[in-house]
């Protein structure tokens, strides 16, 4: 019978050979995909997802089993990604590089300020261009909002699990998601 994630995590804590490799194989694609969704950089995503596995190896003994293993691991992973992004932003600020994604969610931007078009933009835009635009706008969301959208829409995590991953309340997750999706709708002209 196949071991559960939680059993494998306990086996890693007991330094049983093979357990770590098995769990890595099980989670590597998800970890890399989530890291990439947050960081949008192949090398950074590779580096942060590997760092998350190393931290998992080091702290497997502290997994209490009160939450699902995936939630616990995603929390490690997302922390790695957000820490990395903060460091990167700090360096860029130091050298005077301005990242449009570092703007707060409440700061007005020119796209948001522009009036919504009179015609339905979907009609004048083919699907591919629309998809590109949607994800370009997702990239402009704040890191917390982007992470909430990724975990919700792409990974299908429930609100309480996203709250546990981001270490915030469920109400805060609702606010993040609502603001993120409202911003996307507004920028896409989907206000109706």
């Amino acid at each position: 019978m196949e071991s559960s994630d939680e059993q494998l995590c306990r086996a890693i804590a007991a330094r049983e050979p093979g357990a770590f490799d098995l769990l890595v194989e099980r989670y590597q694609e998800r970890a890399y995909r989530i890291a990439w969704s947050v960081l949008r950089d192949r090398e950074d995503a590779r580096d942060c997802s590997q760092e998350a596995f190393i931290r998992l190896h080091e702290s497997a003994g502290s997994f209490a089993g009160q939450s699902k293993f995936s939630t616990w691991f995603y929390r490690i992973l997302v922390n790695c990604c957000l820490d990395h992004q903060r460091r990167r932003r700090g360096w860029r600020r130091l050298v005077g590089w301005r990242d449009p994604r570092s703007d707060g969610p409440d700061e007005p931007d020119p796209v948001e300020q522009a009036p919504a078009p009179f015609t339905d933009p979907v009609d004048g835009m083919d699907k591919e261009r629309r998809v590109t635009r949607v994800w370009a706008l997702v990239e402009e969301l704040s890191p917390q909002q982007r992470t909430a959208v990724t975990l919700s829409c792409r990974e299908g995590l429930a609100t309480k699990d996203i709250a546990a991953v981001l270490n915030v309340s469920e109400a805060t997750v609702r606010v993040h998601l609502h603001r993120a999706l409202s911003t996307l709708r507004r920028r896409l002209g989907d206000e109706g």
């Binding site: 890399y32 995909r33 590779r46 590997q50 596995f53 949607v134 792409r154 609100t159 609502h178 989907d190």
Partner: protein, 165 residues
């Protein structure tokens, strides 16, 4: 209820992520509120679009990924082991030095004691002297120097044995 929109609950409603009581509350509101119903539909469409069109990350070679991860893990483990070894190396020397310091302090006249506390060495001497019954013959003890001067003690071995009978 019509005037208070439930914007922040609509996304969880779309995702089916509300407990029964909240779901019933939002359902009841949606029946009566055109604004929230339209908003919910637009959120649902956007979320479906996001789920269906999420771009895939650039492909990577998983074998190389795992090999690199193992290498990083080994490097990290050996680095932390080296650090512990470096930290642990001076410990025996430090412990020995500490022990010597304690012994030296304890051996000093007066040792390490609180002010006003009795001298443990004098106490020991008193106990020993009592056991040897020397205090009872203090007069003899006080004359030891004199007896030594008369070369009595130095020639104790040479004193004639007490006569028997």
């Amino acid at each position: 209820m019509k005037d208070v929109h439930l914007d922040e609950w609509l996304i969880d409603h779309v995702r089916g992520d509300l407990d029964p009581a909240d779901r019933a509350r939002v359902d009841a509101h949606l029946v009566a509120c055109d604004h929230c119903r339209a908003s919910r539909d637009r959120f649902a469409a956007l979320m479906t679009e996001l789920a269906d069109t999420a771009p895939a990350p650039p492909p990577i070679h998983w074998g190389a990924y795992r090999a690199e991860l193992r290498e990083r893990l080994e490097r990290r483990t050996s680095a932390s082991g080296w650090l512990w070894a470096r930290l642990a190396r001076p410990l025996p020397a430090l412990a020995a030095a500490g022990l010597v310091a304690v012994l030296v302090m304890a051996g000093l006249p007066g040792g390490v004691r609180a002010p006003g506390a009795p001298d443990p060495l004098a106490l020991d001497n008193t106990l020993l002297a009592t056991q040897l019954d020397m205090i009872a013959r203090l007069d003899v003890v006080q004359q030891l120097d004199l007896l030594e001067d008369f070369n009595v003690i130095g020639e104790l071995d040479e004193l004639p044995e007490p006569q028997k009978g």
